[in-house]
Subunit: 350 residues, 2 copies
DNA sequence: CTGAAAGCGCTTACAG
DNA sequence: CTGAAAGCGCTTACAG
């Protein structure tokens, strides 16, 4: 850890400009050449200048930063579990957590300037498919940043992500082993994010690995809410050749689907097997406990925060790219399909 | 809103000491008389001195402060919902939220000094029964503080709290109307906090209002976890004269109890009615949806934060004490007790 | 325990 | 668009 307290004097010397210019850049005052601004901000990030700090009082503050529009509200559902992980890791290291939204960034300031203004020394970043590029921009500026739950080919972008494919593959194999031939994928409709692609890919691979045909009619676009899940059940009931198992890709539709299935008098899992998705331990909070592909959002938060802290403590540390596998856990919502279905397919089962 | 940026010069003039003394007090330097320290800190809080701030950059930062030992982890369960409310209210007002733990306070610094060091301008405070007194101490120092989900007789302490008694009373009346004569209270064991007392009181009043006797054997101390709830069901099954309805006072035991009851083959609500507790909308995430006394943790968070912001904007505003009623919502886990029970009691029901 | 005064870091009106 | 220099707010070694 760099213990020397940095001053704008040092940034000025390093960059070959006056302290006046450094000050103007940091505060985004008008009338600065791009060249000067870029040089100063680069030096600031390289050295880790933190502003006029008070030796004894100085506490590192990390931002949990949302680069998403309102579709993802901080501290609800998945985000709450993630934030709990970030917080617990930071608390262990005497650092402070603030929650920020990039909507507050002024269009004429750089990310570095924005974070400086908000007094955060590093960020754990949440992006959506539409805002993924921001991770590259922040990293490009040299501001310490670790993305939580997305991944990038660009090796300079630090991230901690799941590999949804692992858990999904196990789920598919498990269902096939039980004798299911018609397995639906109820997949969230929020664009083509990494997770969406992973889950879709694992579904298709799971089918072919188990000798099952891909039927586009069995891929059901699903709104990520309890109502969305309930509606999937309704749709399946009207199908001429319905699935014997459905795999959901988010927790709320899983809950809604189980509930609707039971309400409609379906026996779960005898009439219908359901594999859900879980970010924490929701699957054990409901009855019947549902079989699920399990992420651990809190763990992702902890890993992202501690990786970020490592880089703040030593700026020469390279960005880390971590992938955590997801697990499949069989509980009470999966079982062998009814004989009649198997018979109809002319198959003897496993 | 006080737009003038305050300096230690003004605090010094107001207090009749030098700027050197003000600086020493703010940074908790040794060798300061109690008299000087108290006078300076009082003036600081009265005027709302915020440190050397950068006009344009200055963002109000609010602390969500935990004055509790590790029993209550920030951002889990109830705390996540509360934090979401605090955050959403602050975000609307361009203020920033940081999460703090009083364990980080040094024993030799005052609360005001601690918060100054952490760069927070006001706090939403969470206390436990053991740490309630802290709310008075912080308020005494004059530091802007609103307690979330506890209440105080001392009129100078601002708070936003539930009145659990309202919802509990309705739950008791509802069960009595259905014909229940033996109603258990499964109450959390974490000490004698305000909520604990409220719920116990409403239970007893509910019994007597409906002409039912209080039986101490029906008050079951319950650990606030799913296992705790499950264990309550196990205990009831061994009772010679078991309750026909159980009221739980926290969400996790509610979940655990319903699950255990169903696992044991009990019909809910035919064999046993269950009234649970809900902080958000967990009751609709499970099957069957449970009847519950409903708090709205997020709303408490929003109200606490906005009341705090009001006081920061105008320091002459008196602390507000707000009480929000809880509701009772009947769902699928409550119904009339089996005839046999009523017959055994020699009663004809409602 | 306290203040006058020097010093430090950042900001900004002024000059070019 | 930039720097030299004055200025501002806070801190701290020094003196009492």
């Amino acid at each position: 850890m760099t213990t020397t307290t940095l001053t704008i004097r040092q940034i000025a010397d390093q960059t070959g400009v006056s302290t006046a210019t450094v000050s103007r850049v940091l505060n985004n005052r008008p009338g600065i050449s791009d060249k000067a601004r870029d040089a100063v901000l680069r030096a600031v990030n390289e050295a880790g200048y933190r502003g006029r700090t008070n030796a004894s009082a100085s506490v590192l503050q990390i931002g949990l930063v949302y680069a998403v529009s309102s579709e993802t509200a901080p501290l609800r559902g998945y985000e709450a579990d993630l934030a709990a992980g970030v917080y617990s890791s930071l608390a262990d290291q005497q650092a402070q957590m603030a929650i920020l939204h990039l909507a507050d960034k002024r269009p004429d300031e750089t990310f570095t300037q924005f974070f400086h203004r908000k007094h955060v020394d590093g960020v754990v970043l949440r992006v959506s498919s539409a805002s993924r590029a921001i991770a590259g921009q922040i990293t490009e500026e040299g501001f310490p940043c670790v993305v939580a739950s997305d991944r990038f080919d660009n090796g300079s972008i630090g991230y901690v992500d799941y590999d949804s494919r692992v858990g999904m593959a196990r789920a598919m194999d498990y269902l096939a082993e039980l004798g299911h031939r018609r397995v639906s994928l109820a997949i969230h409709v929020h664009g083509e994010d990494t997770d969406h692609r992973d889950r879709m890919q694992a579904y298709k691979e799971g089918l072919s690995r188990n000798g099952l045909d891909f039927d586009p009619a069995l891929v059901i676009p699903t709104i990520s809410s309890r109502e969305g899940g309930a509606s999937v059940i309704d749709q399946c009931m009207t199908m001429a050749n319905p699935p014997t198992a459905i795999v959901f890709t988010n927790p709320p539709p899983t809950i809604g689907a189980i509930k609707r299935a039971l309400q409609r008098g379906l026996k779960v899992p005898d009439d219908l097997s359901i594999v859900g998705y879980d970010n924490a331990d929701l699957r054990h909070s409901v009855f019947p406990a549902f079989s699920a592909v399990c992420q651990d959002a809190e763990r992702i938060g902890r890993l992202a925060a501690s990786s970020l802290m490592d880089r703040l403590q030593d700026r020469s540390v390279a960005p880390v790219q971590t992938v955590v596998p997801t697990l499949f856990e069989a509980n009470e919502t999966t079982g062998a399909p009814r004989k009649s279905f198997k018979a109809a397919d002319g198959l003897s089962g496993m």
